[in-house]
């Protein structure tokens, strides 16, 4: 029948295509990898990645958490985690991650000067990402949070083809242009068979500190509608609070410096929701 012939053609094509692709190999010592992506730039991936990594550790002090900044062109993690300097090398020639607030971090930002741009084509980026994944002495981690760059290109492909990812979380603001890109981000993960755990709505609403009037600067509820369309859950809603940005700029993320604040509570809740949706970790 033509149905089974189509199937066998499709299987054969998949087989041939997969021959050229890199094999997925887990990172030594890392139990589960959670990826934070968006598609759109500037929606708060790094801010959320930093606070979620700290929240995962805060919710369960027995867990070891690492944070990888995969944004080769615009690494923000060093500033937000108040870390600077070149990583040391272990006897085995692996890079030792820099640690702050109990989180092991690695970023392109540690390997280049602050003002130096990384003007690289895709091929070099691939090898840089490979190094940041495999040539780091992560030790034993329960969770490795990876902060992705914006877009749906080389870095996203390299990461998802190289290592098994337990789940991806997509962040968006309520604006249409951001949602459009978030949709593309979700589609991309579907293409590379990475499970999407849910969406985070960021910068949802702003409350004037003086008169408490609420303004939806970037629109309202867009992410909820998108979640419904894509059949995904909303893991959390983070409002626009000046203290989130202030604390990140000063290298003392809000989850650590103001744990009682609404913003911190939102991140702690998101971390809980992520853990709930992850598969049971390997022993």
């Amino acid at each position: 029948s033509s149905g089974s012939r189509d199937d066998s053609l499709r299987d054969r094509r998949a087989q041939m295509l997969s021959r050229g692709l890199p094999k997925q190999k887990p990172i030594d010592g890392v139990k589960q990898v959670v990826v934070l992506a968006s598609g759109k730039g500037g929606v708060g991936k790094s801010t959320t990645a930093v606070n979620v990594a700290l929240a995962l550790a805060a919710n369960d002090s027995t867990k070891e958490v690492g944070l990888l900044d995969a944004d080769i062109y615009g690494p923000s993690i060093p500033k937000m985690m108040n870390l600077k300097g070149n990583p040391e090398l272990t006897p085995k020639n692996l890079m030792r991650p820099l640690k702050n607030y109990g989180i092991a971090c690695m970023s392109m930002g540690f390997l280049i000067e602050e003002t130096a741009p990384v003007v690289w084509r895709g091929l070099m980026v691939m090898s840089a990402v490979e190094k940041l994944l495999r040539q780091v002495d992560w030790g034993q981690l329960d969770y490795l949070v990876i902060d992705m760059p914006p877009g749906t290109g080389d870095v996203q492909l390299s990461v998802s083809q190289n290592i098994p990812i337990a789940g991806a979380v997509i962040i968006s603001t309520p604006q249409d242009v951001a949602l459009l890109d978030a949709c593309k981000g979700a589609e991309m993960f579907r293409k590379v068979h990475v499970p999407v755990l849910g969406l985070i709505q960021n910068m949802s609403v702003f409350q004037c500190p003086k008169c408490k009037h609420e303004t939806h600067i970037f629109g309202a509820d867009g992410v909820r509608d998108l979640a419904k369309t894509l059949g995904l859950d909303i893991l959390g809603d983070v409002p626009l609070h000046v203290n989130i940005r202030e604390t990140c700029d000063s290298g003392q993320p809000v989850v650590i410096s103001q744990p009682q604040s609404d913003a911190a509570k939102a991140y702690l809740k998101i971390a809980k929701e992520i853990v709930r949706r992850l598969p049971v970790p390997p022993a």
């Binding site: 615009g74 980026v125 877009g151 290109g153 242009v177 008169c211 009037h213 000046v242």
Partner: protein, 272 residues
């Protein structure tokens, strides 16, 4: 192997080419590109926008032409016009996708090939300004775009940043990129600079303030102005409306109009 060259290059009728860069994502490059085009149109100029953000093309939506098709003509692709008068024309990968939600998950070489086509094969006709809206970063798209545009001597680049430290850091890198590639920096725009509560008029610096201005001073490039956070601007972009025409009293209008004026002044100085 000599390729067949058209008699007249598709960019021969374009008077000024300018790039909108950032380094940082989400600071408002597409927004500024759009508003700049609308302001220049108000001053009677014919403008084109080339959207080389292949992963996240925002431009079609900002003009409410996201469903449009691209047609071919003898000299190549016909850009999409946003109005009857053909005062603003656009080219974006957004028009070439089958469905607006399709993801473009490409590696560098494929992106480079398309960008070369976008630069050489779009029949722009006669334009006063061609604005090139770029994606965040300093990667394949940027290198290819600058290389492909080099023979046409672009006017320069406008760098957009938000005031916060992480943005300014990325834009500092972008400045170095411009220096290395010989692209003149026309100026820095500090976007999302302050929010004025519509209820009580208290101004909150959600994304901090002054970072862009300081960077411009430090780097010795012109500072084009601060654009405040304006919900009417975001809404107008969502709906693909002409903010410059319809909201002249809104808080972001004076800054946006001033940026366009400075660009116009710069070009008239050059030609005199």
């Amino acid at each position: 192997l000599l390729s067949f060259l058209p008699e007249r290059s598709n960019l021969a009728g374009v008077r000024h080419i300018l790039l909108v860069l950032s380094g940082k994502g989400g600071v408002g490059k597409s927004t500024i590109s759009t508003e700049l085009a609308l302001s220049l149109r108000r001053s009677g100029k014919k403008v084109g926008i080339l959207d080389v953000d292949l992963c996240g093309p925002s431009i079609p939506r900002m003009f409410r032409v996201q469903g449009s098709d691209v047609h071919q003509c003898d000299s190549g692709w016909v850009p999409v016009f946003v109005d009857q008068e053909k005062s603003i024309s656009l080219m974006s990968i957004g028009f070439l996708l089958e469905k607006p939600d399709d993801a473009v998950v490409w590696r560098g070489p494929k992106k480079n090939a398309l960008i070369k086509q976008f630069v050489a094969d779009v029949a722009w006709g006669d334009l006063d300004f061609l604005i090139v809206d770029t994606p965040p970063g300093t990667s394949d798209e940027h290198i290819s775009t600058v290389e492909a545009l080099r023979p046409y001597k672009p006017l320069g680049a406008i760098l957009v940043t938000t005031p916060q430290a992480v943005s300014v850091g990325d834009v500092r890198r972008e400045l170095t990129f411009c220096k290395k590639t010989g692209l003149q920096v026309l100026g820095i725009v500090e976007n999302m600079s302050g929010f004025v509560c519509p209820h009580c008029s208290e101004c909150t610096n959600i994304f901090s303030k002054g970072g862009g201005e300081e960077l411009a001073k430090h780097a010795g490039v012109p500072f084009l102005g601060c654009v405040p956070l304006d919900p009417q601007l975001s809404q107008s972009l969502e709906e693909g409306r002409d903010f410059i025409q319809e909201f002249p009293k809104s808080s972001a209008f004076p800054a946006l109009a001033s940026i366009a004026q400075q660009i116009l002044d710069g070009t008239s100085q050059r030609s005199s």
